[in-house]
Amino acid sequence: MLEVNFTLVVQMALFLVTMFLLTKLLFKPIMQTLEKRDAAIYGSRQEVEVKEKQFKEQLENYHTTIDAARRRLAEELAQKRKEAEAEQAALLNKAREESSNLLDEARIKIKEEEEKARIALRAQGQLFASFIVRKLLGRDLLQKTLGLLPLFLLVPSVAIFIFPALLWAVTEGPAHNGGVPAEQYIKLAWQIINFIVLVVVLYLLMRKNLADYFVQRSNTIGTEIDAAQKARIEMERKIKEYEARLTGVDQEVARMQKEAQKEMEALRQKMREDTKRVSGLILQQSQKSIQLETKRAQQALQAEASLLAINLAKDILKREITPEDQTRLVQNYIGKIGESA
């Protein structure tokens, strides 16, 4: 029968003392260690997560700022390129127009000169014709792109210390006695001794393993703490780096702007050079055209003058040739047939 007697008080006291000792010597340090570990690990992790979030935000800000700056610069660049192209087109058009004007002026001038020359040639045609006639007839006529491990350790520990006391209290204690016989004290003393022996045995048996376990665990935790710290440090480094970059985003944007401006300047310079080169080519082409047209006009004039002189000479000859001239021409040529053969 289950009975409540004084041993309950002793057992309670024993339990409380045990709990006190365990709490003081074991649970509290363990909990402190666990808390420290958690603080070290989870704290670091949380800190890392927070930092990571900050980092991502900063990174996003950074990219947003840089992207916006790039877009703006690209737009500016495109706009300036467009302006430069327009300027180039205008310059080229101007060069073409100048070239065209030059050509027109030259053509007018060539035409005028041609007319003057034609007039002069007409006069000279007469002289050239006269020369032909004299040559043919021989006589003169005219002139051209971490887990739940703390909970698993706590449940078996409480079971080891609380279960024998409760078992004794429930099965043998107060159910067999009205008072407190001496053998019961002796029995209790033996139980206490047993318990102490148990504790000692447990301590001796588990000391090494527990110590090893905790050392190993401590090492693992230490490693994890180190890793977490490293991660935090790395994250802080990155944050600092990106803070620095964010702080320097203005300089970055300014640098990009400067590069863009430099690029634009180089582009404009190249376009100016291209424009200059192309304008030069257009001008050269115009000059070549003028030279060609002048030459053609000269050739046409020469041909015209030649025809004029020849026709004049023909007319003169038809009109002026005499039977005596014919006789002399026939006799001279017959005499030369043998020589030319």
């Binding site: 030649s306 006789t327 021409l329």
Partner: protein
């Protein structure tokens, strides 16, 4: 072209026959006269050159013509052969080639001479002697007057041309001056 080749073959064959007798000029003249006779009469051409008309009829007509013109035996047989082979229409060309081959056989050359005014006899003789000396052939002058030549003289012997006319010199001068201006 094919016609010319065929004509040349007939002319060569006739020349080979004439070579024996040497009467190139006589045969040549008979061929030319007979060609002129047919070419000059459209009725004769319509009958003798038409392949749809009976051959015997054409033979009778040819016989009549031969009797009328009385050519040599060789010429008469040659004309009959041309009619049998359907080559009578080639007669004018054959006559020309025959004359050319006859001239070669006789070491003769024909010189076509043009002048604005008719050539005087002594000028013609002087030219003939000069050309004979140059070609080593007997020259037969065929002189014509062409006033467009303005002055001077034009002579052609086969493919060889001697142009001493004022018109020729003016054309040469024009080609050199305008050719040089165009270059």
């Amino acid at each position: 072209m094919i016609g010319d080749t065929v004509s040349r073959r007939y002319a060569k064959a006739l020349i080979a026959l004439v070579k024996k007798t040497g009467n190139y000029e006589e045969i040549g003249k008979e061929l030319k006269d007979f060609a002129d006779l047919i070419e000059g009469d459209s009725n004769l051409k319509d009958i003798l050159y038409n392949p749809t008309i009976n051959l015997n009829l054409k033979k009778d007509l040819l016989t009549l013509l031969i009797q009328e013109t009385n050519p040599s035996f060789l010429t008469a047989n040659f004309l009959r052969l041309l009619l049998d082979k359907g080559r009578l229409r080639n007669l004018p060309v054959i006559a020309e080639i025959f004359e050319e081959l006859a001239f070669e056989a006789l070491n003769k050359a024909r010189a076509l001479v043009k002048t604005p005014l008719p050539l005087k006899v002594h000028e013609a003789e002087f030219l003939r002697l000069k050309l004979e000396e140059l070609t080593n052939k007997e020259i037969v002058l065929e002189a014509n007057a062409d006033p467009s030549l303005i002055g001077g003289i034009f002579v052609q012997i086969g493919s060889t041309i001697y142009d001493g006319t004022i018109k020729g010199q003016m054309e040469g001068l024009k080609e050199r001056l305008i050719g040089r201006g165009g270059a």
